[in-house]
Amino acid sequence: MPRLLRMSELTRADVAHLASLARIDLSEAELDHLSGELAIILESVATVSSAPIEDVEPMSHPLPLVNVSRPDVVTPSLTPEEALAMAPEAEEQRFSVPRILDED
């Protein structure tokens, strides 16, 4: 079990890094109050690791279902008009997005 962060260890810089991973352009004021609140929440939720969970299988799904699939049969798509109706901008039947910095 890795050592857990203490509340003082979640720094403002950590929060700024998490915000950039989550693509949220937090203001300085937001960074200030969020890092305080998150530290408190984090300290509280970290208690999960003190539960008797050794040798316990993680539970990712509430029901033990497996092998749910669908046949490979075409169903109707949206029309391009429906697909693009809510786009902030569209051009040539495509979604127009601001310039992209790098390919992935």
Binding site: H17, L21, S77, P80, R94, F95, V97, D104
Partner: protein
């Protein structure tokens, strides 16, 4: 010797001579191949997967990632994944899950990709490929070990507007078509390939070629590299000879033809070699392959900040393929490519090297079809690996696809061969006819008719031409009379010229020798 690569100053990077690289370093290769399955519908929704449809006509709430929409797994995609795993000699998971790979990118509608993480559907396999023997003649089998094959979904396609030739840099904005988003992908990842040495580029190419043949035989994908239905990422690092410590690797993305795979590996080996031998260190980064210039350029640096935050996909339930299903699917596997290759090679009477070239050029199916259509194996090999292969290579395309583009078919080869065997065309005329076919002038017969290609059957005209040439070259004629038969070539050439090429060279030779001995 270190030289600079061509192109602009900004992209010029030092490269080391290939022989110097291989004498000082051992390459470690890793190949990641993404294959689009040719299922009727997408991985998680019922939208069709037709290539080349008008933009955003094959999208729905699921593959557009609209709020509230949920994925449901395509049963045929799972079966295809299992069949691919089995064909790659993998173990098939008893139980596995999908996972979300979280990162933001505009052509990925949900900003996460449904993929598989630590529980792939297939793992621990191998694929044998044929490469030139390390010492001496012939070929030998090189075993590429497979780490895993897992299922995931493709992204949409961005067109960059305002920059140069659709490049991302300098673009003002991009237009996104999500038709491709959600098409089932199988990602096949090799274990680190060590021990290939100087043959690493050929091993890489042979692996991708063999894999492509295998997937084609499985009938799970179109495997059209030029359309992106099969895409290859090349990981490469060097370690000093004698070391077993892997070096820092580069990851060259989207190397999308067999020839490019070979070239990209070679280039990266030379680039790494130059950096390392001058005391530098390799940056772990993605690199972009440039087909036109044959070089890679720096892409995104892989930093610690890259954190995909994988976790089990809560909207999908685990997959637990029954052993019965796995065995049922195993029974549907085609003949393994190596066995098939041996069988075909024996039947065709090709040498090891001929067969290897045929495999690496992706010609196996084409030759098979051509032989089935009535051509001799030698003729099929000769015509498909000649001029058309040179042109396809120059276009950066595979021969079968290029032939498709030109509309050239196995029937054309059959017809061409019969024009030779029937005695209408000699070899050089057949080449001219073939060129005409490649130029879209029609079938071989149509080209021959149109260009007036026909061996002269009139022996009178031929004899007259021979007599004329003998009379005009008394010195040579004397030599032949004295027994120097090899001198006949000079006379044949002149007769052929006089006949405007429309004579059978062998008949001319016989005629001359008959008259002079």
């Amino acid at each position: 010797m270190t030289t600079m690569t061509g192109g602009t100053a900004a992209s010029a990077e030092a490269v080391l001579d290939y022989d110097e690289v291989t004498s000082a370093f051992d390459p470690v290769l890793g190949l990641e191949v993404h294959v689009e399955l040719h299922t009727a519908t997408k991985m998680f929704c019922g939208c069709p997967t037709t290539f080349g449809a008008a933009p955003n006509t094959q999208v729905c709430p699921v593959c557009l990632g609209l709020p509230g929409a949920l994925p449901v797994v395509n049963a045929v995609a799972v079966e295809s994944a299992i069949r691919i795993g089995l064909a790659l000699n993998c173990e098939i998971a008893q139980w596995c899950r999908f996972a979300r790979k979280n990162y933001f990118y505009p052509d990925m509608p949900k900003n996460f990709q449904i993929s598989q993480y630590d529980e792939p559907i297939a793992f621990n396999g191998w694929l044998d490929v044929e490469v030139p023997a390390e010492h001496g003649e012939g070929t030998e089998v090189f075993r590429v070990e497979i780490e895993r094959a897992h299922m995931e979904e493709d992204t949409g396609k961005s067109t960059h507007i305002g920059g140069l030739t659709g490049r991302i840099h300098g673009a003002t904005h991009s237009l996104v078509d999500y038709n491709r988003a959600g098409i089932p992908l199988i990602e096949i990842v090799t274990k680190p390939i060590v021990g290939a040495g100087e043959r690493a580029p050929e091993v890489a190419r042979a692996y991708v070629a063999t894999l492509r043949d295998l997937l084609k035989a499985l009938d799970v994908s179109d495997v059209k590299m030029e359309q992106g239905s099969m895409r290859c990422d090349v990981n490469l690092s060097l370690m000093p000879k004698g070391s077993s410590q892997f070096g820092t690797r580069s990851e060259t993305k989207n190397v999308n033809s067999l020839r490019s795979v070979e070239r990209a590996v070679r280039f990266e080996m030379c680039r790494h070699g130059a950096v390392l031998s001058s005391g530098g260190s390799i940056v772990q980064e993605t690199r972009h392959w440039h087909e036109d210039t044959g070089v890679t350029t720096s892409g995104r640096v892989k930093s610690d900040a890259e954190d995909y935050r994988y976790f089990p996909e809560p909207d999908l339930v685990p997959i637990a393929p029954s052993r019965e299903l796995v065995e049922e699917l195993r029974a549907t596997l085609p003949e393994p490519p190596t066995e098939r290759r041996k069988r075909l090679q024996n039947g065709w009477g090709f040498s090891d090297l001929e067969m290897r070239d045929v495999v690496n050029a992706g010609l196996v199916e084409l030759i098979e079809e051509t032989v089935a259509a009535g051509a001799s194996p030698a003729a099929a090999r000769k015509w498909w690996s000649g001029e058309i292969a040179r042109r396809a290579n120059a276009e950066g395309q595979d021969v079968p696809t290029y032939a498709g583009v030109l509309g050239v078919t196995p029937a054309h080869v059959v017809e061409l061969e019969s024009l030779i065997t029937s005695g209408r065309l000699n070899d050089s005329m057949a080449r001219q006819a073939w060129e005409g076919v490649l130029a879209g002038e029609g079938t071989p017969t149509q080209v021959a008719d149109a260009r007036g290609l026909e061996l002269v059957q009139d022996t009178g005209a031929l004899e007259a031409a021979v007599d004329e040439v003998i009379a005009a070259n008394p010195d040579i004629a004397d030599k032949i009379r004295d027994g120097k038969v090899q001198a006949v070539g000079a006379l044949i050439g002149q007769v052929m010229k006089a006949m405007k090429g429309q004579a059978d060279a062998a008949a001319v030779r016989e005629l001359i020798i008959g008259k002079l001995t």
